[in-house]
Symmetry: C3
Subunit: 163 residues, 3 copies
């Protein structure tokens, strides 16, 4: 058994976050947070567009997609044609931020810090970072860089959740 | 071992459905149905846009996204520019409904009922429901409301599939 | 224990690929490749739009979605309104192909062949193929057709990753 794998039968989650939109940034963070509060070990691996969630100059300004999402409710119904207009994504993102704040969830950057402080390990996918020309300096403090094979090694014995 | 967890080594799936488009509503339902037919225990957890799938006044009218999906075939090829025109999503959704019907799969609302009748447990994510101002009354009969920590507790020992 | 399930405790991944865009085609292929290089057993199951990845006359020409993806960086920032213009998806796809090539990852069709040669099993989802009127002849050589219940049977004991 790899020492990176599951130890003594402790439960472990490996969450892979691949989306960078505001609405899809919250599910991995909420799951990671809930798991840590339940004493479950958590590794968070950010890949492709998900890297935005832990990239210092992006994480404060994630946006909701207003087109390509026919569920874009309940705050307002935006027909796809109008959803493509300049400014609509910003308006929807501001509304979603307000709703999230009302529920007492922190903004993305603070939420990521809380999760790191709670003991979850946070990784950026090396291959995606090379493609996007990012280095560890670009990531939030506490995040490390990891290749796909090492990630799989860490994920041994974990419940893997790809978001 | 939690009594919500895996009992006597029985196989269990925990399916988390986070998308509300017509095309992404079917994968969780088809998997849940196939699993129940194989005698596998199933918990379905609907979160974010996925809540539409079990919301009474939405579940009969889910729509295919015609923009933001470059694979939008094979029924017709819609260039993104045209896909954004009013009416295109409705047309694509109607075509997809016909195709699904030809394969003898029921419409979403009947499919959800069948799955509940087969013994799968169906839950709405409490946090998403609060954000969307939904209560258990808004959900299909048989669905319950569950927080993220309780969901993780139920998912112990399960294969977790996030869609 | 089913003979299709996990044998002698060998580690196994079941990757379900449901997206057909160029950016979401790579994560299942990169994970499958990394897993095979680590000696992990891999089943790849292509369903819904993911079928494009193993369909002979589609797999060479997958496209990036330029709308509905507010993260569409870092190569350029396309406002959603402009992203919907004819030609933008093709331009973004060409740029992504160049970046992927620079990282020494093969194009999708060659990558799929490499993965099959490495011993991963590759399946098309029967129900999706019926809906899209595809037969095994339309799939890349080495791919087989499989129903959802058989897929679940193969996935017993595996870490399931739905992309």
């Amino acid at each position: 058994m790899s020492e990176n794998g599951k130890e003594n039968g402790a439960r472990k989650l490996c969450i892979i976050a691949s989306k960078g939109s505001l609405d899809m940034a919250y599910p991995p963070l909420i799951l990671a947070n809930a798991a840590r509060m339940s004493g479950i070990e958590v590794d968070l691996f950010f890949t492709f567009w998900g890297l935005d969630i832990i990239t210092k100059d992006k994480m404060k300004d994630l946006k909701v997609a207003t087109v390509g999402n026919p569920s874009m409710h309940p705050w307002f119904h935006i027909p796809t044609f109008v959803g493509g207009m300049p400014g609509m994504s910003a308006a929807a993102s501001a509304m979603m931020r307000r709703e999230i704040d009302k529920l007492d969830f922190p903004p993305v950057d603070e939420f990521v810090e809380t999760i790191i402080d709670s003991g979850a390990r946070v990784f950026g996918c090396k291959m995606s970072m090379d493609m996007m020309r990012l280095t560890q300096e670009d990531l939030v403090e506490g995040a490390e860089v990891l290749g796909a094979m090492e990630m799989l090694d860490y994920a041994e014995g974990a419940q893997v959740i790809f978001i």
